[in-house]
């Protein structure tokens, strides 16, 4: 073994030791945080699991789609928005869901977690957006009881090869078309978790190559400075028209910047934005 090799090995060994130390420190810090939280809430195991589940997730969209999602927590902590982007049961479909829980705190996070988990679990077997919302509602009410701490959710199933999308909403704002800024016609249903029976209405729309949609939580349309006007659907549509033709990444980034600017850089609520566009072959 030459001397430089020997030095390199020693250097690497030192680096490994450093990394071990860092990891131990980080683990120590996590343990501290957990201990603090146990004291505060007595429910840390639930909370840690919920944070994990609600955290921004990997996007698994079909190859014919350009999907970008962004999640920005409220300036005073996470309120419980979430998104899911994953393949549907048949290879060509992609399921996108976005949701939002009423209020903040452990109970709110727990209910959001149930909904996100069920939607992600069922999406690989069910591609009817209404059925997905009904299942999520059923699980939520069975496991946590009907409650006024409701969860709004929208599920969109994209079938780019067939040139269409299907969607349903449980109390959630409707999708908006990219480029034109047109709000899809909504037939609202009650949010999830209020009643054991969900009367859900499914809508179908065209989705041709090059076109796309935007899903969001009310952190976008309700972004505002205290006592000032809300960002609103009108400004959202206008912003989308200005962004006509942009890639999903740019759309999501610009809209987030708009919301932050409108709110004076202090978001009162979580902000979740998902843009999906069908690639031109």
């Amino acid at each position: 073994m030459t001397e430089p090799d020997q030095r390199e090995i020693e250097r690497l060994q030192r680096r490994v030791e450093e990394l071990d130390e860092e990891a131990a420190l980080r683990e120590g810090r996590i343990a501290e945080l957990i201990a603090e939280a146990v004291e505060r809430e007595g429910e840390i195991r639930d909370l840690a699991a919920m944070r994990e589940v609600l955290a921004p997730s990997e996007i698994r969209a079909g190859r014919d789609l350009d999907v970008k999602a962004s999640f920005t927590p409220a300036s005073d902590g996470v309120a419980g928005d979430f998104y899911v982007v994953m393949p549907g049961p048949d290879e060509d479909s992609t399921v996108i869901a976005v949701g939002d829980v009423a209020g903040k705190g452990v109970e709110a996070a727990r209910r959001a977690t149930f909904v996100r988990t069920s939607l992600a679990a069922f999406a690989q077997y069910v591609d009817d957006p209404c059925r997905l919302l009904e299942l999520a509602n059923q699980v939520l009410v069975e496991r946590t009881g009907a409650s006024s701490v409701f969860v709004t959710a929208i599920v969109v199933v994209l079938h780019p090869r067939e040139g269409r999308l299907e969607w349903a909403s449980a109390g959630h704002p409707p999708p908006v078309r990219l480029d034109s800024g047109e709000l899809l016609d909504i037939r609202p249903s009650l949010p999830l978790g209020i009643d054991s029976v969900l009367t859900c209405r499914r809508s179908s729309e065209t989705l041709t190559a090059g076109t796309g949609i935007l899903l969001f939580t009310d952190g976008l349309t309700e972004a505002h400075r205290p006592h000032q006007s809300l960002f609103g659907e009108h400004r959202l549509s206008e912003a989308l028209r200005e962004l006509a033709g942009s890639a999903s990444d740019a759309v999501v980034g610009r809209l987030k910047a708009h919301a932050l600017a409108h709110a004076g850089d202090a978001l009162g609520d979580d902000l979740c934005i998902v843009a999906a566009r069908v690639n031109v072959a």
Partner: protein, 114 residues
């Protein structure tokens, strides 16, 4: 929205009573921080009312935590045989109630002409 002195109006819940009709006037911005004031408003209602009006005419923001409260109090009213009506909020605030399809659960009325 500021008053002539440029100050932001504060959030307030003002109770009014006219015989068996109780009214809660909700003014300003109901967010997570001010939600307890609405809760206190409901709790502080003098019993004996047969109709409860929650007036959102001057409400500039209404967070979902407040909607949960409305649903809870509405359920209590229904149980007690009390009618609860909500005077609609300004359009951009009312839009959220429409999206939630809450007219299935809550009774909304237009602001009476004065």
């Amino acid at each position: 929205m500021t008053d002539p002195n440029g100050r932001a109006p504060k959030f307030e819940v003002v109770p009014e009573r006219d015989g068996t009709v109780a009214t809660l006037i909700v003014r300003g911005e109901l967010d997570i921080a001010t939600t307890p004031k609405l809760e206190a408003g409901f709790a502080g209602l003098e019993p004996g009312y047969e109709t409860l009006v929650v007036d959102l005419t001057e409400c500039t923001f209404f967070a979902s935590s407040g909607i949960s409260l409305l649903l809870e109090h509405n359920a209590r009213c229904t149980e007690a045989g009390i009618e609860m009506a909500i005077v609609k909020a300004p359009p951009d605030v009312q839009r959220m109630f429409d999206l939630l399809a809450l007219d299935e659960r809550l009774t909304f009325v237009e602001r009476p002409a004065t």
